[in-house]
Symmetry: C2
Subunit: 713 residues, 2 copies
């Protein structure tokens, strides 16, 4: 079923005829501050792709025909396609309550920035521009909503956030949350695209409620691009000052993000940019002015590396230039600005484990950096960059009344241990992760543990899969549930073995006496004893980050503060064809501090995936617009890198294990943080190869050729 406003002729924003009064006008949004969306447009459409009408029918062709019969009267309105234009607007605002079309702005000032700049030996100021990019997950969003005769609704959806979806549908449908059951179906990739409610979800639900029948809605690829929620076009004016010795004294950034027509996660994006900008190095003076601007384009949102990727590209590129100015090795200048954890950053982020120095060491060594940097033939170069990311947000701004993660466990009569968790497996492996944690804690075979996940009716609450929170939050909840179960089992075993419970331990399918492992009970016998002793065996664990990790006096900032931060360093080796401007990436060395690799294969997969996604954004990905129409709404035109692209080199991965004190078995983030380092590493390598610096992504051959030409002139 198709529901695109683009069926209408002109691309401009427009007012709808009052005749078009939707029956579900309730506004919703992923953030409490941004309830500006409705199932179907009310009053006006704000971008091409905004939904004006929906039709449910027995067949797609009937639906198409019915849609073609719908006539919508439009009254054209001025439209804003450029964020700088949008910010100048005094009237004809995209949302009446958002002056100058600014959705949200943040101004941070840590330390004494002006005085610090005055004392700097070298200062650089540059503008960096990153285009809008889309997640391009292989699976388009799809939702099946079923209105039952008993007045309850069941919704299967490709969502990363079943509990947020449940809450949103309750608002839209005016039904209690508990009468809406959301089941996460198998998800073919999310990358953030499915971490907020997608328009098709309320639309399917609304149609199902009206039709009192099951309604399924699946986006075409074109609709996926128009639904978007990807990374915003970002304009970054960055100023960094250093001492002659290469110590960073001050950083000031003005960041404008082209957010599209609705709020979505936008304020979080611009906030992450500010909170993480200066936090991975030891910088005591940081100024940040961030603007999330509304335009008449599809709404942007969360995308892998949410908020950090574009500013990190700018920062690591500029730091590279400063190193060049100071004649300091780019790896060395980074090592001279390390944090000294455990520590609190200037903006109150608590850093407890910090593997960044080791990450740099590993890639420098593996790439032969010290021997080869500067000694490669003309046209070939090496570049280095770093990045970091959160292990979930310590202050979930969007659902303060929800615990972060809760996990319950039930033991079956045949000894199977069943985990119930609200987490959303979207391919990142969180079902496996929780199963491993429980099996490890109980000392039992992996295949003894089963898992039921992401079904609001039968699994306990979890905020969802985003901001790399799952391993840390749900992992800790699963660990606590397993410990709770272990206590009950050991209590019963102790009774049976006439030994004190505290002297017992479980391992290799046995419960044994710590003082003499030969005095043991088979795990099945221990379980049987526990089932008899307790009547039935269920256990629970929930986790919320400790107060100390919530960002102190800047906690108001909401996101940014995290119970733990991951770190990454990468070296890129590229060559540039000065005739064609074509960049070839020969190899990437990627080191990632993931705290503890609970499942090394999965962690490597996540790091490699992040690097590859970063390379796509560095070299070729870009959403291009004309008159409000997207020019490349298809995988063929959008061109994410495939395995045979120049942007798909060998990626050698190094896992750095710092064993975070708060993480489950020491684990922390691994799925997003690496992405941000890849882009500047490439840009820096290109500069090393041919001496040109491109500050607007992607690094396409035409830009390279233009820059080379300018340099020769």
């Amino acid at each position: 079923m198709r529901t695109r406003a683009s069926d209408a002729s002109t691309p401009l924003a427009r007012k709808l005829s009052p005749a078009c009064a939707p029956s579900f006008p309730n506004r919703y949004g992923i953030l409490p501050i941004g309830h500006d969306e409705t199932a179907l447009a009310v009053g006006k459409v704000r971008y091409i792709g905004d939904n004006v009408a929906a039709v449910a029918a027995d067949t797609e062709s009937i639906a198409e025909e019915a849609l073609s019969l719908i006539e919508v009267e439009y009254e054209p309105l001025p439209a804003y396609m450029d964020p700088l234009d949008a910010m100048r607007a005094e009237s004809d605002l995209i949302h009446d309550d958002r002056a100058h079309n600014i959705e949200k702005e943040y101004h941070h000032n840590f330390g004494d920035v002006d005085r610090a700049f005055a004392e700097c030996d070298v200062i650089r100021e540059d503008r960096y521009v990153c285009p809008a990019v889309n997640h391009a997950a292989m699976e388009p969003q799809s939702t099946l909503a079923w209105m039952q005769h008993d007045g309850n609704m069941t919704v299967w959806s490709s969502t990363q956030v079943p509990y947020y979806l449940q809450r949103t549908l309750a608002i839209v449908l005016e039904m209690p949350e508990s009468s809406i059951r959301v089941i996460k179906a198998a998800v073919g990739g999310g990358f953030g695209a499915k971490s907020e409610v997608c328009p098709l979800e309320p639309i399917a639900a609304v149609l199902a409620k009206k039709a009192k029948a099951p309604v399924k809605l699946t986006y075409t690829r074109e609709e996926v691009f128009y639904a978007h929620r990807g990374r915003p076009l970002t304009i970054i004016d960055l100023k960094t000052g250093v001492t002659r010795g290469g110590k960073i004294q001050a950083v000031a950034a003005r960041v404008i993000q082209d957010g599209g027509a609705f709020c979505g996660y936008g304020p979080v994006t611009v906030l992450y940019s500010g909170n993480l900008l200066g936090a991975m190095y030891d910088i005591t003076n940081v100024r940040y002015d961030g603007y999330r601007v509304l335009t008449n384009k599809p709404a942007c949102g969360a995308m892998r590396g949410h908020g950090t990727v574009n500013v990190r590209f700018a920062f690591e590129s500029q730091l590279d230039m400063l190193a060049h100015d100071l004649l300091v090795d780019p790896a060395e200048i980074r090592l001279r600005n390390m944090l000294q954890p455990p520590c609190i950053t200037v903006n109150d982020l608590r850093v407890t484990s910090y593997g960044y120095p080791e990450c740099i060491e590993r890639v420098v060594e593996a790439s032969g950096w010290r021997e080869r940097k500067g000694k490669l033939p003309r046209g070939r170069g090496l570049g280095i960059a770093g990045s970091h990311y959160v292990s979930g947000a310590a202050n979930p701004t969007n659902r303060s009344d929800m615990p972060h993660s809760t996990v319950t466990i039930k033991v079956d009569r045949d000894g199977a241990i069943v985990i119930y968790t609200g987490t959303s497996e979207i391919g990142q492996g969180c079902d496996t992760m929780q199963t491993q944690i429980v099996a490890e804690e109980l000392g039992v075979r992996f295949d003894r543990v089963k898992i039921v996940s992401a079904d609001t009716a039968t699994t306990p609450v979890d905020l969802g899969s985003y901001s790399s929170r799952v391993t840390f939050m749900a992992g800790n909840a699963a660990l606590r549930a397993a410990r709770n179960l272990k206590e009950q089992i050991l209590a019963a075993a102790a009774k049976k073995m006439s030994l004190p419970a505290e002297e017992l331990e479980c391992r290799s399918e046995r419960v044994f006496w710590k003082n003499d492992e030969r005095i043991a009970l088979g795990f099945d016998d221990a379980l049987k004893a526990a089932l008899e002793f307790h009547g039935a065996l269920t256990a629970q664990g929930s986790y919320a980050p400790p107060k100390e990790s919530q960002g102190g006096k800047f906690k108001g900032a909401g996101v940014g503060p995290s119970p733990a931060y991951s770190y990454a360093a990468q070296v890129a080796e590229v060559s540039v064809d000065e005739e064609t401007g074509q960049i070839t990436v020969h190899k990437m060395w990627a080191a990632h501090d993931c705290g503890r690799a609970l499942n090394p294969l999965t962690v490597e997969g996540q790091v490699i995936g992040s690097v590859s996604m970063g390379l796509g954004q560095a070299l070729q990905e870009e959403m291009t617009w004309r008159d409000g129409f997207l020019m490349n709404p298809g995988l063929l035109e959008y061109r994410s890198p495939s395995a045979i692209d120049p942007a798909s080199p060998e990626i050698e991965c190094f896992l750095v294990e710092t064993i975070d004190p708060e993480g489950p078995f020491g684990a922390k983030e691994c799925s997003e943080g690496s992405l941000a380092a890849s882009i500047p590493a490439i840009a820096n390598a290109v500069y090393d190869a041919v001496g040109v610096r491109i500050n607007d992504l992607p690094l396409t051959p035409d830009k390279i050729l233009r820059a080379l030409k300018q340099r020769r002139a």
Copy 2:
């Protein structure tokens, strides 16, 4: 899909050609002692209806055709259609390991029976015969088994015992229980027919596993009768001795039950008959010899009033005759033999609440017994009888490693309280019952409480819906879970209200201070506080009957001992047409001691349903056999009473509330016990009307006419 051996020509038991080797030979049974069934017959078929082959196909007609192409070579064997013949057999046994075709026999001797008889003033000895009757639930058994690609199986079935079915399928399919998910579908009546595994369940599972596809199997009505598991043909030789004053001194019974070809619940049936025979009156000398005999007919099993109905018919009829001999009023003779609870019966059953005297009082008064008995015109009469039943078995013989009932509760963010229970709603109202109990205990609106039940993957273990155990066992588990949740809520509320938790109470959607109800917190606020305080809210309760209720030194007897017993008394008013022998029941007065009526409407429904089922068995229901074929395998021929039948009179119901000390809010059995009183009440009324006594059911016109003729002669 049809799988009847009756497609074969001759009715006799027969040996199968070895060619017919089934791929799932594992034996199963509902009782540990009786694993004698297989998904498809192995070696020989034992009755018409025994399953020899199964075919799964895309359409029923293809399956029918395929079945018609199956040729089975049979070698005829001697068959036993009569239990007395079967008991005489020395060879050609139905099961080689069951000498004389006796599945199980029980011999109890309580007190000094012979001496007691010697001291009696009046003794009667009579033989009573009750035919086989079928539950005739409106919905035929149906099962859908789905073998998933991941090696797990999901089975939807019309079962009263999802956890037993899960265990049985695990045995048959050789899969772990936890990889088999059993979901109870909506069930259109059980009455015991679905309280053990029905042949179609393993057959559907076996086909699904072979076909790696979903397989659905639904019985035709004819197949329902051939699957049977109903009440066995029972031959009762009963001897009762009394003093001149009408005090019962001794009872001796020899009971033979025609169990059909497999064990099923049979041993429980004959055991219940013995354990409950003498337990509702104060009788100190009881002898019981019970035989569960194998014959070449469909297996009998549990049916409403399991084990008590036929012996109660005999006992209450004979007691009526004794009253007549002694010229004591039939109501009076019963009142002279009441137990004096709290007490322990001669066979160690603990009686804590006993509303039988009051039940008699109520029906005697309502029916105008004292004024009208013996004063009605010729051909019209009144009869009285009593009955009792268990509130579940204190010792579950068939699953000692399972707790009786476990209930968990989860609180949703919108304040909905969700109950997870393994109990099987089969129309008796147990979902409503548990919802009421939780709402009552928490003092919240009924509609705030939701329930998820009978799904082995998501609900905690429960033995199932049989032996009237659910309200008592699961009701207590639900109550305990609610109390556990209440504690957590009050703990958080206490913190918020700065009051000690033990001084708080919940009622009418409020948490208030017991000393001053105006100091209160809305329940939603209390929940919110508790969710924040505990991270998440889940609670658990499980229940198993106390040791003292398990039957002391006779606990080995397994069933019979129960945590509480219900009692019933009924008066029937009938008239008999001496020309036609036609009996018309004008009215039934039915009093039932249900402890506490948690839902009076439901309890009345259960009592009325029981009486009506009893009337059917008293007047017209009977499975008739010829050469191993059932002569009336259809509702038209079998003739359960419909609303317009003579056996469907006005039924006036009286609920007697004794508030049992162990039951949830004082509740105990109400769904089965009344049935057993209806049959003797009718028989006694017929005697009162026309002075003839029919000892073999049903009381059909031809028997009445024959008896009248004999009396005249």
